[in-house]
């Protein structure tokens, strides 16, 4: 019951944060010299009626703080307005968010699966050639610009023809059987995921290595060693558990980093995700879409941190004390 109370309190804390984020993003965008309906006006298929409706919804003739409240009100109601192309923003977002989530979750899952053991290995074998090799590899992974790596893999894909390029599904997706559909998505997902995997694995491995080293240096490990507990047991039972705890906090940050990193990768691979959506929206100065995706991005980030914190509350009894 006590845990639930903490979680509830933590959830309540995110609400003012999100309001703050919305205020900041709203003012950044609205104070810029871009006309929020400029693109919409230029689109001949948008009726005068829709334009007026948007004008009223955004309250463009009123002072800016009233505009903010109008925007917030319709945002909470789920009315996010129209894109420059005349589609509903909410529909567009609903289409893209699952794709980005899929990519991000695949990457987080695989990096954790590989990063934790590799980090542990690096720490246990500290200063041996295995550790040096891992460090070299992670330095390189951290230094390569995501878009450059993406371009290199794209060259590879185009030259060999082993991987389809662009999109998440093939043109004949609807006709495929279930397993073919599955493999089709896997094939499309592989290269973008590989780019993000390489980059975030590097950070994760280093962090895990540093944590393990710190834990191995602590008094209780020395005590365990003095007692004569086998080294295997020390590492897997005592060191691993304690070194993973701080990693959970990192999970939230990783989520944020992936959202940002994904934007460029999605752009290069023409992957239909949130990052590419916001990029295209920014380039077309599609204000409604930018504003909404900014909020959704922030929301996902805050949610990521929230989940990390809740996991930490559950796993680490010290926080509850």
């Amino acid at each position: 019951m006590k845990i639930l109370g903490y979680i509830f309190k933590r959830i309540l804390q995110t609400i003012p944060l999100l309001i703050f984020v919305s205020i900041i993003s709203f003012f950044i965008i609205r104070l810029s010299p871009v006309d929020p309906l400029g693109e919409l006006r230029l689109n001949p298929s948008i009726s005068q009626e829709t334009l007026e409706k948007e004008q009223r919804r955004l309250g463009l003739d009123k002072p800016i703080y009233i505009q903010y409240f109008l925007w917030a009100k319709s945002f909470i109601k789920g009315d996010l307005g129209y894109t420059a192309a005349g589609e509903k923003v909410s529909v567009k977002l609903a289409e893209r968010i699952p794709n980005t989530l899929l990519l991000t979750l695949v990457v987080i899952f695989s990096t954790w699966l590989a990063g934790i053991p590799l980090g542990l290995l690096g720490a246990v074998k500290q200063k041996t050639y295995i550790d040096r090799l891992l460090t070299l590899f992670t330095s390189m992974g951290m230094a390569i610009p995501s878009f450059f790596f993406a371009i290199l893999l794209l060259t590879f894909a185009v030259k060999t023809g082993w991987f389809p390029v662009g999109g998440l599904t093939s043109y004949n997706f609807a006709e495929l059987s279930f397993w073919d559909k599955f493999f089709d998505i896997v094939k499309h997902l592989f290269l973008p995921a590989l780019v993000l995997f390489t980059i975030s694995l590097s950070g994760l491995q280093r962090q895990m290595r540093a944590n393990t080293l710190e834990v191995l240096d602590s008094d209780y490990i020395k005590y365990a060693r003095a007692k004569g507990i086998p080294e295997r047991k020390i590492i897997f039972k005592h060191a691993l558990r304690n070194a993973i705890n701080p990693m959970i906090t990192l999970l939230g940050f990783e989520f944020a980093g992936l959202l940002s990193g994904a934007a460029l990768t999605e752009y290069v691979f023409q992957y239909p995700g949130l990052g590419r959506l916001i990029l295209e929206a920014v380039m077309k100065s599609d204000i409604n879409l930018v504003m909404a995706s900014l909020m959704i991005g922030a929301f996902m980030l805050v949610l990521g941190n929230l989940i990390a914190d809740i996991l930490l509350i559950i796993t680490d009894p010290r926080i509850r004390a």
Binding site: F147, T155, A210, A256, M283, G297
Partner: protein, 355 residues
Amino acid sequence: MIKEIWKDKFARAALLVLITLYGLIFFADFIAPYSKDYSNRAFAYVPPSKMYIINEKGKLSFPYTYNYIRKYDPDLMQTIYKEDRSKKYFIRPLTLGAEYKILGLIPCSLHLFGTERGGNLYLLGTDINGRDVFSRLFFGGQISMTVGFLALLILFPIGLIYGGISGYFGGKTDIIMMRFAEAIMAIPSFYLLIILAAILPTGMTSAMRFGLIVVILALIGWAGFARVVRGMVLSIKNEDFVLAAKTIGASPLRIIIKHILPQTTSYVIIAMTLAVPSYILSESGLSFLGLGIQQPDASWGNMLKEAQEFTNLLYRPWLLVPGGLIFIAVLSFNILGDTIRDILDPKGRKRENLR
């Protein structure tokens, strides 16, 4: 500290690479065979010029090259370039070429090397506008390698003062200031970056645009930095020397700047060396998307923009070179940063907050 860096093999190599890179871009005008604005419209996407040191008789010779001639291949339906073997152009050291100004003052037209009159030397081919990729690497480096440092010059004072005030005063001030910083951090940084870059008004001079890109980059990172500084200030502010300063009657701002912030120096140095590469990456990403440094100015990011088109990927691999340079620069900074951190903060307690 330099001595300790020198002792580490990797760090020494990284330091040398960085010194070389900065040296090269400092003397860009002299080393680059062509000027920044040089463009030969008739020669778009020329492949790299081949240098020969063994002549047709099989004997060693001064390095020379051939010009390319443009042909249209009706079968492939595209322009192809062939070497014109009829005339050799020798490559000479210290030739006269396009005029530039040393330190922006003294006019000069001496270049490190070049070909004889009438010859073209495109060591890494040309881009879509017929500009020499090799030369532009240097001019692009001037922007890509300095943007990070300039952003840090803006970011660190802001972060230090903000974190210092928030941590020192505590209470309501602290809560409000930190909530604001957290809100900035809650916006995915790259999203914020592209939005800020996109709302820049068009039609600015390139110097203004460069300045504003620097400011935008600085606006992204300060919040995270300020939070760490605040944490450190919290632990320092109850030390005896702070109490002593208070007793003398020093003003809070004086205590923060003169007594507390200097205690964070080693953290700041570590954070700075580790932050520069991330700014190099951000700038190149931004320019790659066309939102950062704009043509005709060069930056390693915007030079890569062309490389991502399918035909260029397959047939013009020389356009990828700037990416390799970003990689090398960032890698060197990271290695150097790691070493400095190990020296200044051997236990690595602060490393978690840096990335």
